[in-house]
Every structure is written in C-alpha cells, then in structure tokens.
C-alpha cells in the first residue's frame, strides 16, 4: 500500500505538478503535425522521383535509339533524382535538420515548418526507392500484355503496373512511416517541442528519469500500433481480389 501511494505521489509530482502533462500534449501535437505533413511531402516526392527513375530504367534503351529532346530531358531528370537520393541518403537526418534550420531556411522562424520540410525531403528519398522497387518488381510480361491490349505507356502504368506494385510495397512503406514517426524525435535539436523533447524537459525539471521516459515510449508505441493496425487492414482489403 505504501509503495502504491509513493508511486501515486511520484506520478503527481512528475506529470500533474506545474501542469507538466501539458508539455506532453503539446509535444504529441507537434510530433503528429510534423509526421503527417512530412508523410505527404514524402509521398509526393517519392511518386515523382520513382516515376522518373523507373520510366528512365524501363524506356532507356528504346528512347536512346530514337534520341531527341524527350530522352535528354528524362536523362537529365534522372541524374538530378540520383543526386538527390545520393545526398539525402548519404547524410544523417540530424545533420540535414541542422543545416536546414541554421543555414538554408535561416529566414523561416517557425521551427515546426522547417522540420516538416526536412523530414519530408528525407522521407521522399526512401519512399522513392520503395516505389521504384515495387514498379520494377512487376513482371515485364504484365507490361507487354498491357501494351498489346492497346494501352499506351501511362495507361499501362496506371491500370496494370501501379496497382500491383502498390500491394507489393505496402509493408515496406508502412515500415518507412514507422521509421518516420520515430525519426521526428530529433526535432528537439532545433528547439522544437516534440514528444521526446517534452519527456526530456519533464526529466530535466523533475530529475526523475523513469516515468517521463516510459510515458514517452508508451505514447510512441501506441502511435505505431495504430499505424501498423491500419496498414494491416488495408493490406487485407487489397488482397481480397486475389482469391
């Protein structure tokens, strides 16, 4: 019993006193905002880059023979995409965040916005490769079949390749989103109050490590659990037509 009241006292001290729980709410809000927006940015960038890279890979030979502006343009876009992937995947996201915050987006004083751009750009690189791997994994015969049915390149992509590719990449994509949620925990580096920083702050003020850290861990776990459940459900629905 005494142990229990002690625990209740510590709970009250750590979270209730000075309204410290409000930091967690604010932090959770920022974490969700940053994750949601960077997820969208990431997917948009991912789609664009993956389309460029896979169309180049698929059509390189035929287009090269034909030559012309189209080939040069696609080839240039492909090179730019490659540089983007190289830089983003080749540097730690913390460093990218610091560079964006202190150097490139110096004039933007809203830290949360900088974090959204940063994590969006970062996630885009990984999502692009995930999408591309999905597109390339669909058997070449599917593509040929589409073309023989009279679909043009884009129609074949839209009606035959992409739907199959999407199903293949869904688990990997879900994995990327989980990584993204947790990756936002470094936002505290640039003074943003995210979930991790909120726990950190409570720890700094109360000098108790256990409760704030466990609370933060549980909240992340809950977020990821919801996300995993949702993608699992989507996966099952998409598999229905396979029967």
């Amino acid at each position: 019993m005494q142990k229990f009241t002690e625990f209740a006292d510590e709970l009250r001290f750590v979270f209730v006193e000075s309204d410290r729980w409000k930091w967690l709410i604010e932090g959770l809000g920022n974490t969700l905002k940053i994750t949601a927006v960077s997820l969208i940015i990431g997917i948009v960038i991912g789609i664009v880059i993956a389309s460029i890279r896979s169309s180049f890979d698929k059509n390189q030979e035929t287009m090269k023979k034909r030559g012309g502006v189209g080939y040069n343009l696609l080839s240039a876009l492909n090179s730019i995409s490659k540089v983007y992937l190289w830089v983003i995947r080749g540097t730690p996201v913390v460093v990218q965040l610091l560079i964006l915050y202190f150097i490139i987006l110096q004039s933007v004083s809203n830290g949360v916005a900088v974090a959204m751009v940063c994590f969006g750009l970062n996630s885009g690189a990984y999502v692009a490769e995930i999408f591309r791997s999905g597109i390339m994994s669909v058997d070449e015969g599917q593509f040929e079949a589409g073309r023989s049915l009279g679909f043009n390149y884009l129609q074949t992509m839209r009606h035959i390749i992409i739907p199959q590719a999407f199903k293949t990449v869904l688990p990997t994509l879900c994995n990327e989103f989980i990584v993204l949620i947790k990756e936002t925990s470094i936002a505290g580096y640039v003074g943003i109050m995210d979930l991790t920083k909120a726990g950190d702050l409570i720890r700094g003020r109360t000098f108790k490590a256990f409760l704030p850290l466990i609370a933060v861990a549980l909240i992340y776990l809950a977020l990821v659990t919801v996300l995993t459940w949702a993608t699992g459900k989507l996966e099952r629905r998409l598999r229905r037509n396979e029967r």
Binding site: Q106, V190, D200, L201, R205
Partner: protein, 271 residues
C-alpha cells in the same frame, strides 16, 4: 564424437572468457585510490569546456584540486545538463559540477555544497537591436510594478534546463516571459546560432559563456542590465552526507589559501 569435442571446446572457451572478465573486474576493484566521478556538461565556457581531448575550465580545475584534497582520483563524465541532477540523485555520479545554481526544485532531489562562484544571467541581443534591457520585452507593468505581458512575437533562446530556461519560461508576473516565448536548445551555442540566424529575439544565458559567445560571433552584444544573479554550487546525493561535508571542508580550505580565487581569476580576469 565430433559433437562431444565441439561441446567441450565451447565449454572451455566460455570458461576462459568468464574468468578473464571476472579477472578484469577484480583488477578495477583493486585500484588503490577511490574514484570521484563528476558529471558536467562541457559546453559552458569558461566553467567547463573541451580543450582538445581534455576538459578545461573553472569547475574542472576546482574539481581537480578538490579530488586532490580528498585523496581521490577525479573522473569527469560529460553528459547533458538536464541529466546531471538525476544521475547524482540515483548515485550514478558522485557529484555534479556544471555552473549549477541552487534552486528549490533541485534541492528536492539533491543537496548542494557551499557556493564556490557567482553567476549572472545575461541577455545577448543583436548589436543593432533596439532593446536596452530585458524590461523592454514587457508590454507594461501593473500597480505593483510586475510585468503584465510580453511584446508580440518575442522569442527567447535558452539552453534547456539551465536557470536561464527556468526563470525565463516562468509567467510574466514572476519576471519570466511565458512558456510560449521560450525556445529551448540543446546547447548555449545552438541558442546563439539561432540568434545570429534571426530566429530568436534574445538569448538568456550565464554571463561568462555569454562573453565567450559574443567574442566569437560578430554582431552580438550583451545588455548592460543583467537578468538574474545567482550562486554556483556542487550537487551531491542526499544520502552522501559524508562526501558533502568533505567537499565543503575542502572548498573552505581552497578558498582560504587562495586556490579557488586564483583559478577564477585565471579564466575571468577582473581587469
């Protein structure tokens, strides 16, 4: 047969590893001098900072003399400022020494030695700033002379968990600027970079590191009016009263024989 040999060989290997590990532990325990672990945040010049691979600064030198007096071997552990008090409380470190001010919150968790140095919280702003004093950050004062609110868009950069953070994130009524006006950075240097980049209006930090930052960055100045004045002390776990007594005794001796004043003078010349 082969299996048997394999299992014997692996058993022998495990035994060898286990013995050598225990032996290594034994060696450590056999050390004659006891260790005095000091937790600090070595990003706070001139009190503590990294000088090449070594630590330097007022706290580091005083701790060295302190360990000498106590007949112990000093071990410095560089950690985040916010983790020091918690680590000392749980006995992870023997003492915390990081230009740390005695506050009521901290006293709930640890004991503090007598003060060995005085600290002043200063306000750093851009050189062309229109602000003359931190009082300019308030919009008005009530009948008692307490601030009623802060100017719009005010952002104060601080190092997380430092006294500058604690004081300035309090409500205006208590001479803070309010939670929403404070941006907390991991280090003082980050806060200053944010000021240079124009992301915050001012940085509130201890005067001595403030001077180093202003010297290192062009276009910054320290306001003449200081924000808060405070005493620095060493924190020790509540149960460890023996160490606290010894530290206090040693500090008194080191102050009396002029060692501590000389160390402070070395880093902060009084002109």
């Amino acid at each position: 047969m082969k299996k048997k040999i394999l299992s014997i060989v692996s058993l022998v290997l495990i035994a060898v590893v286990a013995v050598s590990v225990f032996a290594a532990c034994g060696n450590n325990n056999a050390d004659t001098t006891k260790k005095l672990t000091m937790a600090t945040n070595a990003a706070f010049p001139p009190y503590e900072y990294k000088d090449g691979d070594d630590f330097a600064g007022i706290d580091v030198e005083i701790a060295g003399k302190l360990a000498e007096k106590l007949g112990m071997e000093l071990e410095i552990i560089d950690t985040e400022f916010g983790s020091i008090v918690g680590g000392v409380e749980t006995g992870k470190y023997d003492m915390g020494m990081a230009g740390m001010t005695v506050t009521e919150e901290r006293l709930k968790s640890v004991n503090f030695s007598t003060s060995y140095a005085k600290g002043v919280q200063s306000v750093i702003v851009l050189e062309n700033s229109e602000y003359k004093s931190y009082e300019d950050f308030y919009t008005g004062y009530d009948a008692d002379g307490d601030p009623t609110g802060v100017i719009e868009g005010l952002k104060i950069g601080v190092q997380q968990d430092t006294t500058g953070d604690i004081y300035s994130s309090d409500v205006p009524k208590k001479w803070g600027f309010g939670e929403e006006s404070v941006i907390r950075y991991k280090t003082g240097a980050d806060a200053v970079s944010a000021l240079v980049a124009g992301k915050v209006t001012a940085v509130i930090i201890d005067n001595e590191p403030a001077k180093s930052y202003v010297a290192a960055n062009e276009g910054l100045k320290i306001l003449d009016t200081t924000y808060v004045e405070e005493d620095y002390a060493i924190c020790v776990a509540k149960e460890n009263t023996e160490l606290l007594e010894n530290i206090n005794k040693a500090l008194a001796e080191l102050t009396a024989d002029g060692t501590i004043p000389a160390i402070i003078e070395k880093y902060i010349p009084s002109k």
